[in-house]
């Protein structure tokens, strides 16, 4: 810890989990995230942990249910089609209020799609994917350093709220290499899992049941209301974003997360060099989405432009934030393609009519 090392994204994500105290990893191979389970299979035995390659993503996520329910720090990683298979279990984990971390290193879809990077799982991540009224905390880092810091944070947030946390990155981030540093995270006061996890009957003096079934309507409604209160708490406390070049006289606001935010960053430099007043709002949490910065956009703004590696999934959230004060445009590439700086600059200029 403390020194800068050059690391591949997927391996950095895995090491961050281990540094955060994750000792249990269950997973099933899928490109482009295979370096995570591979790294875990090598590293976890060194630190007294358990790595298990399960028979499917369906089994994997239910293993997370089992391990989280026993009170240990547990993680899985997968990519888009694998996350779809996990949806059933994610709903159960959210319903039973179990803490765990799920990494989605997104590829392009729908269906089998391709193995190249994508950002088209935004709806699935932020709107459910599984059944029932539940929410996941969705963290979307923009650099590998931020990814490491957020993975460490993810385990604390999961424990704090007893909720699954998803780290949403795209295949580029998994495959790129950057200099990173593993910093000791601040220590948080976290709830004692022995209060509710199985296997502590003697210490607790009463039994624990980890379940989601509630056959009576009123208790189930009550449970749902309690979950919603928790989600409101998360919305109040955990929403994160970065504002970049958002001066008071900004005319074009670009919005992007993950790898596309880096492309937008470079585009902004090019636009500013030409005297075009553009800035960026970068969501760091996709749920809860940072609506505030959009509500507070200055009157100088003429347009908002979302840039994504999808067909425009985040646009809906941006529109909610902008509330029809400004027009919201979209530029994106999909299928495994990424927008180039030139393309984004061109799209920005077109919108501004210059």
């Amino acid at each position: 810890m403390g020194e800068r090392v050059l690391m591949k994204g997927n391996e950095a994500l895995a090491e961050a989990a281990i540094q955060a105290g994750c000792r249990y990893f269950f997973g099933y191979p899928i490109t482009p995230q295979n370096e995570i389970p591979e790294y875990m299979s090598r590293r976890l035995p060194e630190v007294g942990g358990v790595y298990l390659q399960s028979e499917s993503e369906v089994a994997t996520i239910n293993m997370l249910f089992g391990a989280a329910g026993a009170g240990v720090r547990v993680m899985t990683s997968s990519s888009s089609p694998g996350i779809s298979l996990m949806s059933e279990g994610i709903s159960y984990i959210a319903g039973a209020e179990l803490p765990c971390v799920i990494m989605n290193v997104m590829r392009a879809g729908p269906g089998l799609g391709g193995i190249l990077p994508g950002q088209a799982d935004y709806f699935q991540a932020t709107r459910g994917g599984g059944h029932g009224d539940y929410r996941l905390l969705i963290l979307t880092p923009g650099t590998l350093q931020e990814a490491i810091d957020l993975v460490m944070k993810a385990f604390d947030l999961a424990d704090l709220y007893r909720n699954p946390v998803m780290v949403l990155v795209d295949g580029f981030m998994g495959q790129m290499m950057e200099a990173v540093e593993f910093k000791v995270p601040e220590k948080l006061e976290l709830p004692d899992k022995k209060e509710w996890a199985v296997g502590y009957r003697k210490e607790r003096g009463r039994r624990a049941i980890v379940k989601t079934l509630s056959l009576e309507p009123d208790p189930l409604e009550e449970h749902n209301r309690r979950l919603q209160e928790k989600y409101r708490r998360i919305e109040k406390n955990e929403v994160r974003h970065e504002s970049y070049m958002m001066d008071d006289d900004v005319e074009l606001v670009m919005v992007a997360y993950g790898t596309t935010s880096r492309i937008v960053r470079s585009s902004l430099k090019a636009l500013r060099a030409e005297g075009i007043k553009a800035g960026m709002v970068r969501p760091i949490t996709a749920w809860p989405f940072p609506y505030e910065p959009f509500k507070k956009l200055p009157p100088s703004v003429k347009s908002v432009l979302a840039v994504e590696m999808s067909c425009g999934q985040m646009v809906e959230d941006i529109k909610l934030g902008v509330a029809e004060r400004f027009p919201v445009h979209f530029y994106g590439r999909c299928g495994g393609n990424a927008p180039s700086v030139e393309e984004v600059v061109r799209a920005a200029k077109e919108i501004l009519g210059c």
């Binding site: 089994a59 249910f65 279990g89 049941i209 989601t212």
Partner: protein, 247 residues
């Protein structure tokens, strides 16, 4: 005459009546598990995983730590619980729809990895909870609500013999099939359940006890006729036997 106590409610069983239909043998299986847990003195460290099916509420009857798993996924939940806490005695309780249909992959792979868990598998040849549809274990010609003309192997395949199938794997330590429809079977069933738990406690691998059970409601029979039907129709297809015992 002096009163002699010959049987009482197991300590780990709640004093409540179950929701099972008259003549259903889920309750007998529950009781045997509770007795074994009492006798082994493991109530404080036993963790059960309930299935989806008629026994979904088993945690209301047996006083232990429990998970309630998604349909068929109990072996995955149990696998991770045991890996996380090897000091616990982890078992699943699953019906034939839960284990042999939607959860077939999970049970085969948990068995094949030799997970140190015990599985109590209730085979009543039908889906009880959802109203009597065909199960993977439904007998040929057996009428169910989705095989109204009787199970035809050309359309629906043959009854799956789970104990035999899992016995072909190298990793399992103990696999047996028993029944609970008459006292003589019940005594053997309890022995098998105890062996299954001991296999786990003595770290000898995966264990499974398949229990031939009744569903008088969905079979459309009286409890007595259902009992006889298990003996006359099910046992010939699903022979009672120890398929694997720990060395």
């Amino acid at each position: 005459m002096k009163e002699v106590l010959i049987a009482e409610r197991p300590k780990s069983m709640y004093k409540v009546s179950t929701h099972y239909c008259p003549g259903c043998t889920h309750g007998i299986a529950h009781r045997l598990i509770a007795e074994v847990i009492d006798e082994l003195g493991i109530q404080d460290r036993a963790v059960g995983v309930a299935p989806v099916g008629c026994s979904v509420l088993i945690y209301n009857y047996i006083d232990l730590d429990w998970y309630e798993a998604a349909h068929g996924r109990a072996p995955a939940v149990a696998t991770a619980c045991k890996r996380a806490r090897p000091d616990l005695a982890v078992f699943t309780y699953q019906g034939d729809g839960d284990l042999a249909s939607i959860g077939m992959a999970e049970i085969v792979h948990a068995a094949n990895r030799g997970e140190r868990i015990s599985v109590i598998f209730i085979n009543n040849a039908i889906y009880g909870m959802t109203g009597g549809q065909m199960a993977p274990t439904t007998l040929l010609s057996q009428r169910t609500s989705t095989t109204p003309y009787g199970r035809d192997p050309k359309a629906s395949g043959y009854p799956i013999r789970v104990a035999e199938m899992l016995s072909t794997l190298a990793a399992p330590g103990y696999i047996a099939r028993v029944s609970v429809v008459k006292p003589k079977y019940v005594i053997k069933a309890k022995e098998a359940i105890k062996k299954a738990f001991l296999t786990q406690i003595e770290d000898k691998g995966f264990s499974l006890v398949e229990i031939l059970s009744t569903c008088p409601t969905n079979w459309g029979m009286s409890p007595v006729a259902a009992t006889n039907w298990v003996e006359e129709q099910m046992i010939p297809v699903f022979p009672l036997k120890e398929f694997k015992v720990p060395e």
